[in-house]
Symmetry: C2
Subunit: 366 residues, 2 copies
Amino acid sequence: MSDLRLVHVVGTGLLGTSIGMALRSLDVDVTLADPSPSAVSLARDLGAGRVARDTEQQEPDLVVVAAPPDVAAEVVATALIAHPTSVVTDVASVKSAVLRRLRHLEADLTRYVGGHPMAGRERSGAVAGRADLFAGRPWVLTPTAETSPDAVAQVRSLAERLGSTVTLMDAREHDEAVAVVSHVPQVAASLVAARLREVSEQAAALCGQGIRDVTRIAAGDPALWTQILAGNAGAVARTLHAVRDDLDAVIAAVDALDSAADGDAPGARAAVAGLVAAGNDGHARIPGKHGAPPTAYASVPVIVPDRPGALARLLHDVGAAGVNLEDLRLEHSEGRPMAVAEIDVLPAAVPALVAALQERGWSVHD
Amino acid sequence: MSDLRLVHVVGTGLLGTSIGMALRSLDVDVTLADPSPSAVSLARDLGAGRVARDTEQQEPDLVVVAAPPDVAAEVVATALIAHPTSVVTDVASVKSAVLRRLRHLEADLTRYVGGHPMAGRERSGAVAGRADLFAGRPWVLTPTAETSPDAVAQVRSLAERLGSTVTLMDAREHDEAVAVVSHVPQVAASLVAARLREVSEQAAALCGQGIRDVTRIAAGDPALWTQILAGNAGAVARTLHAVRDDLDAVIAAVDALDSAADGDAPGARAAVAGLVAAGNDGHARIPGKHGAPPTAYASVPVIVPDRPGALARLLHDVGAAGVNLEDLRLEHSEGRPMAVAEIDVLPAAVPALVAALQERGWSVHD
């Protein structure tokens, strides 16, 4: 098994700082570097490691490049030369472009393992770093035919010690997958949210939980997302073209329904229903919690007054009923001092839960 | 103020049953009708009212038509004739098409008030009915120049007694608004989810919170959504054309980036960043909880073991720290027996909360 004694982290944003913090909590020695001296001091002060000096004697076992996607390849190539015996990995969310650039730079690919920890936050920067950022998240590694097995084992060891589940894919497979599960959803959220710029205050006030969920990630950083989408342009373009084909079919159908005098247009309703049904099928492929197949939990809605401790009291009462809560959503109510907590439990647990909560005075309906 | 003594509900699905339940809890007499005798008995057994007889002596103060959107106008027109002194409202999620059809049928529009309670659930049918379904939700009324003020007051009284916040709009404004805030988000969620049909198991396992949120509503019922989208074809088409214009610009940009030999394409990055920035601006228009402007809450992540009572203990400890929880999200971890609870609180409350939770042994980072 690979041993990590000294890890050098290049780039102290959210991911680099979080990796440093996590390794320090495992007593691994961590040196930090960043083009910005104040960024590297901040990461040090946050407990991510010590600042690397030019006079370091020992070669790191592993160099982690946590630079922005559009400079990742150059930083990896430099690290492979500066540390001629170290394994080098990166955390960029696109992998083919980095690999292509490394080949162009004639980098030593035996010691490089592409990586993508699928962890992130709505906040960025070192101050948002957390040692547990990677716990339970997928971490994709994209070794090539040239990569040495020892290098893969070293990076796998890093990911697993940080609590991630490692998945091996080739770079192209990775990029096609994240185009579908991450990059195109981001574009779709932005497209829907952009329409809200033009509506009246009164119309914006009608936003419910549906559009809130669809557009939550539309608050993402334009500069970062431009790098990611540009870095995965091929796969993103292929998926967006497929989306546009489906969109064109829906537009043709609603246009036909709109212009048909009697509201009827042959085939138009079937086209709309076909898209919604295709969405049902795709949605069913999202794995449930803990990697298990999606389970149909039953949802029990309970009114929660907007007072300190009210939700805690509710959850305490759920626990006291001996019921394991599978998921929980809070829906706040426009203009009312209350929220609705949707408690997901196994269907068999519903009757006992409803009875127990009603007995304790909760407003619950199922 | 309008008085409601007897309300007749036509159509005992989710909305009709919920309205009946809510009115019964206010001691209003409710009669129920539905084309399906078993559906109406079920609603009665659920406490939504009594089954209307052919021999009812008293005219209802109000008739609520809770029929599917594509038959709503016919049922309203029939009710206006059958109850020549009653006010009639409906709950269909599209309003112009219903009004147009009523004009065509030469219905008495002085006594008709179009309505749209913006409440719903992922489940449908009478058994999903709840008396509190409308609490804190918007309820749009779409009176016309012909509508009598007394009729509007009567329906407003219904909506407000059920806990809703009433918004008056004309039918066309309403339809344009819901196209943007509800119908097109549904199409976008289906478009994104549909792409998942083609990915490998390994790729589907990479689905994170982003795509889960974007596609949650993609599980909606194809038949119902086809009626809704077809019933609002004009406004949906206009919004979808605008979405396609934006999508075309992004596709042109990523196509250019993909085919540029050196990865550079003049203007392409600006086009991508422009869409994401437009999404930021649109997203910022979604009102925060309680109708207030969006507030930047701070999010505190805490690791929660997947054991009965763990979340309750955490929320109890949050309450004991004297901190008011503003929102809460649970993120389950692929392949790990734990979840991350993201607790949103006012930024000023963060240090005390973090200290209090750490003191009680919680793994919390901010």
